[in-house]
Amino acid sequence: MELQAIYDTLTAAKVAGLLGCDEPRPSNKKEKDPGRSGLPFLMVDPAEIVPLLTACRDMPLLQFDLLIDLSAADPAADGEDLWVLIQLLSLKHRHRLAIKACLPKSALIMSSATAVYRAANWHERECSEMFGITFEGHPDPRKILLPDDWDGYPLRKDYEFPTEYHGISCE
């Protein structure tokens, strides 16, 4: 199913938190629009992520039963938002869904998707140590790839590389 159809299905079911579709568009030199290439994303409200994912999983028309990936991106150092990116896959209908939720850097809190997909567990742990997002209701919010005493969130654009770690110079 194409993204627009998925969006329509979700809207018809009155699922909360839908903000629209982020579709690729060709560049327009007159309006100085560089365009956007790549693949479409479903824009959602991070506050409503759990009911939305539940709907995506349970609606027979969609049936996204696999959570493939949950990660984040920091599009710009001076930007106001972080993006939380979720990739879903339906085994039955053989379609994918890419979800993007903009989370303001001032309040990096959203509810955990582990209640819907247990696959989200480790992805959220990685996401929170790399970007500093707090996932409320996560069963095991430890760091996963980084050492427990690591400071800062390395994948953020404003991250400053440490000059030393436990007395070992990193320069």
Partner: protein, 400 residues
């Protein structure tokens, strides 16, 4: 579909162990905490599993990752598009061709209207499938090692050696190829290479039967792996498993067939490959033996695919029109491909410059590994090794 509560529970799994029931009515003793790893033969690299044991019985397990974390995603944001390609070799170092392909396809998805030449597609498919065989051969051999059979490992490496020699001929490298480039492939097949690949397919088919009989159908091996580490279908889906782990649990899904990319759709229509699915032949559906068996059968399917490509390949350019210093149009894309271990996804975000804004890698080993913490509870120490082995992880990819 199911509710929030999973249909299997810890208690149930504890009372349905692979071993004998007597182990659960043993004399009560205090638990022993053992670090399996970071340097332990069963962890296939540098991973640490903290296990709590009651004698030989594992009562708790916790995986600790990050010993091989090399900041691949951060590096992706700091080097040019093409420069990042050699880094992709390093996450799943047993299937570097597949990683190259995943990254290249993600970047190509950002270039509107870009079409990879036909010959490049075929060469890519041949290399990727040969690499899948090589990777599964390692999985086959190391799983034998985990179970205690040493000889199959060396047999498997003999054929893998041949594949590596083939790769060396086409790209000069044996492990980290960087052969599949953005836009096509780096080098055309040298004269006689395709014939040798065909010869390899013929020889391998004979050897493959031997390998299957030697290990997969060995009585002790079946006793050790059947009914061990059972992942029911819904649990596999809930944990987001992909690849042979998912198919081992009886879910008939393969990205190559179901969300086709490159020439796989065409190949499947031509009947060039099937998707092996676990059937619970030797024990319960989704046990270690099923996962192992799926990998063994997949090798044969890859051989069929390579043969099909050898038939279909035609002369032509091997790389599209891609500049040396690549500037990718602004945009973002997530592309997932079927790696030997499952879905390898790349999310790339470009702002129109020479460097990616975000380069996210979704490694299949990382997600597949998450299941062991639950699976190992209630098994014996030897079973937990069998379970880790059956996930076929590459630590370079779990930690990236």
């Amino acid at each position: 579909m199911k509710g929030h509560e999973p249909s299997y529970s810890m208690e149930e799994r504890r009372t349905l162990p692979s071993g004998e029931e007597e182990f659960f009515f043993d004399v009560k003793t205090s638990d022993l905490e053992v670090n399996m790893g970071p340097q332990h033969p069963a962890t296939h690299g540098v991973m640490r599993v903290l296990i709590r044991c009651d004698g030989e019985l594992v009562t708790g397990a916790q995986a600790h990752l990050g010993y091989l974390h090399r900041c691949a995603e951060k590096i992706g944001e700091n080097v040019e598009w093409l420069q990042y390609l050699p880094y992709t070799d390093r996450y799943d170092y047993l299937a570097a061709m597949n990683n190259n392909l995943g990254y290249s396809m993600a970047v190509e998805a950002l270039m509107p209207g870009f079409e990879v030449p036909r010959r490049a597609v075929m060469l890519r498919t041949i290399c990727v499938e040969l690499n899948r065989i090589a990777s599964h051969l390692v999985a086959y051999g190391t799983y034998g090692l985990d179970i205690g059979a040493i000889t199959p490992f060396l047999y498997a490496f003999r054929e893998r050696e041949w594949i590596q020699a083939l790769f060396e001929k086409i790209c000069g490298a044996r492990l980290t190829y960087s052969y599949i480039r953005i836009g096509g492939v780096f080098n055309d097949a040298p004269p006689g290479w395709l014939t040798e690949v065909g010869h390899f397919c013929d020889v391998f088919e004979e050897k493959w039967k031997e390998y299957r009989d030697l290990l997969a159908l060995n009585h002790i091996f079946i006793k050790r792996t059947a009914n061990v580490g059972v992942i029911p279908k819904d649990m596999a889906i809930d944990f987001g498993l992909t690849g042979p782990m998912l198919r081992g649990s009886g879910v008939d899904f393969d990205l190559r067939r179901d969300i086709p990319y490159m020439a796989y759709g065409e190949a499947h229509e031509a009947g060039a490959f099937d998707v092996p699915v676990g059937e619970g032949e030797k024990g319960e559906l989704g046990d270690c033996w099923d996962r192992f068996s799926v990998r063994v059968q997949e090798m044969m399917e890859s051989i069929k695919l390579v043969r099909w490509c050898l038939e279909m390949i035609e002369d032509g350019p091997i790389i599209g029109d891609v500049p040396k210093v690549l500037k990718v149009p602004p945009g973002e894309a997530y592309v997932g491909i079927e790696n030997p271990r499952g879905e390898l996804g790349h999310y790339v975000h470009s702002d129109g410059g020479k460097i990616a804004v975000r380069c996210r890698v979704r490694g299949p080993s990382f997600t597949n590994l998450a299941v062991i913490e639950e699976l190992m509870v209630g098994t014996l120490l030897a079973d937990s090794v069998a379970i880790i082995g059956s996930t076929d992880i590459v630590v370079g990819e779990t930690d990236r």
